[in-house]
């Protein structure tokens, strides 16, 4: 057996979930016994609006291969309007990441309500598959000089 036998690629995926909808949605997925890959690490935030665009960059810099942000459906925000602001920010950030040449499949926003355990599970499965096909994230590790 060769020592260099390649380990299977396990993507690291960070999911920012809002406390009121998506985190509860993830809970529901769990209690309904719907599976989603263990590669997804959930970070609970008070509201999707709490997600500073820098959190996403930071996650990438720390080695994440994909970042997904989940929040309440527009109109259903616990704080009335938080996710509307988040939506604008994320649109601009994703567009910028696309502009500097980061594959745009690595970032995603999905609105998941507390009743959508199934949606949470399918979204995560889909996303992990997508990151699998994109492979390891090397670009956002260092935007400046490497190599």
């Amino acid at each position: 057996m060769s020592i260099e036998a390649k380990e299977e690629f396990r993507p690291k995926i960070v999911a920012f979930c809002c406390n009121w909808c998506s985190y509860a949605g993830a809970d529901l997925a769990g209690s309904s016994r719907l599976g989603y890959p263990a590669d997804v690490k959930i970070i609970r935030v008070p509201c999707s609006c709490r997600v500073n665009p820098m959190f996403i960059l930071r996650a990438f810099e720390k080695g994440a291969d994909g970042v997904i942000m989940c929040g309440c459906h527009p109109g259903d925000c616990h704080y009335s309007t938080g996710n509307y602001y988040a939506r604008r920010r994320m649109t601009l950030l994703f567009s910028m990441l696309d502009y500097i040449g980061v594959e745009n499949g690595r970032t995603r926003v999905e609105w998941v309500s507390a009743a959508e355990g199934v949606k949470f599970s399918t979204t995560m499965n889909e996303f992990v598959e997508k990151i699998h096909s994109l492979g390891k994230n090397v670009r956002l590790g260092d935007l400046r000089c490497r190599n």
Binding site: R87, R88, T91, F94, S95, Y99, V102, L143, C145
Partner: protein, 324 residues
């Protein structure tokens, strides 16, 4: 320029203003620097020519804390920044006496050097009174000349117009310099493949030496405490806090000024490494125009900034992928 100095002297003498914020001659013929003048005698050093590219509106933040009014000379594009700072309550309108000065396009010494004109001793043709067509450069290798338009800063080729957005009085004539599309370069990069895009930006950003000149000069970067100030030392300084900041500096900065950047182009002008930093800011401006309607920061002081506003039917972030 004489008219400007005469008026500044008058205003200083009759006590309307306590000081003048303008440009004074630098060590070399092509690097005038921003300066305060607090007496009529000191105005002897005052210059205003084609090399006065510096945007003085940011200096008004400090000047607003001083006693008495400050006369500030603003070019048309600088008035956008002034307005934006007013909107953010960073400067005091009552402490400023704005003289809108004419602009015939500002020059970039690097462009002149790139034309192969080295060893510059003297440049004529850059004065405001001159018919701005050709520059005559006397160098240690003899006299050379170039077209004024070829030596202009990038931002002057995509000028927002020679209309002052805010002023108390206007002095001097302007000349239209716009001859290119503002978003042409951004659009060109957008059509590249992800590999090409990444290679382009990595090449440009690898030149960065983190001197923080872009941050320090930016009128939109006016936070009292900046995220890039190190909190690990007693004095706020530019030593980086961690590697994250080093790697993502330009994207973080561009995002912090998104929706507030007036596209004054100072970041690219001051960059000692010649990184086209305006490309980041312009990308955000282009996206904002495209997704949320045209918005020019600093144009209307009462307009709601796009990132502090929303509509119920904004585009979803997925549009980035769909657009291809």
């Amino acid at each position: 320029m004489q008219e400007l100095i005469k008026r500044a002297k008058e205003l200083l003498e009759n006590g309307t203003v306590a000081r003048v914020l303008g440009w004074k001659a630098g060590d070399l013929p092509y690097n005038p620097e921003p300066a305060y003048f607090d007496s009529t005698e000191s105005l002897a050093d005052f210059v205003y020519n084609g090399f006065c590219g510096a945007n003085l509106s940011k200096y008004m933040i400090e000047a607003s804390k001083l006693e008495g009014k400050t006369l500030v000379c603003l070019k048309p594009c600088d008035t956008y920044s002034f307005n934006q700072l007013l909107k953010e309550h960073r400067i005091d309108r009552d402490k400023a006496y704005v003289i809108g000065v004419g602009c015939k396009g500002k020059l970039d010494i690097e462009r002149i050097r790139k034309m192969g004109i080295k060893g510059i001793e003297q440049i004529s043709g850059a004065e405001m009174e001159d018919e701005a067509d050709t520059l005559t450069v006397s160098t240690i290798y003899g006299e050379k000349s170039c077209k004024y338009a070829d030596a202009m800063l990038e931002r002057c080729h995509v000028c927002k117009g020679k209309e002052h957005q805010v002023y108390d009085e206007l002095i001097g004539e302007s000349k239209e310099t716009k001859d290119a599309d503002r978003f042409a370069e951004v659009a060109r990069i957008e059509t590249m493949t992800p590999e090409e895009k990444f290679a382009f930006f990595q090449k440009e950003l690898s030149k960065c030496i983190r001197c923080n000149a872009c941050r320090n000069v930016c009128p939109a970067c006016s936070c009292r405490k900046c995220v890039f100030d190190s909190n690990k030392f007693d004095s706020a300084q530019k030593a980086n806090v961690d590697s994250f900041e080093e790697k993502m500096f330009h994207i973080i900065r561009a995002f912090h000024v998104a929706g507030r950047c007036t596209d004054c182009g100072e970041c690219s002008r001051v960059c000692p490494q010649g990184i086209p930093l305006h490309l980041f800011n312009r990308k955000f401006i282009k996206d904002i125009d495209e997704f949320y309607g045209e918005y020019q920061a600093g144009m209307d002081i009462n307009a709601q900034s796009p990132l502090t506003d929303f509509t119920f039917d904004d585009v979803e972030p997925g549009i980035v992928g769909e657009r291809g």
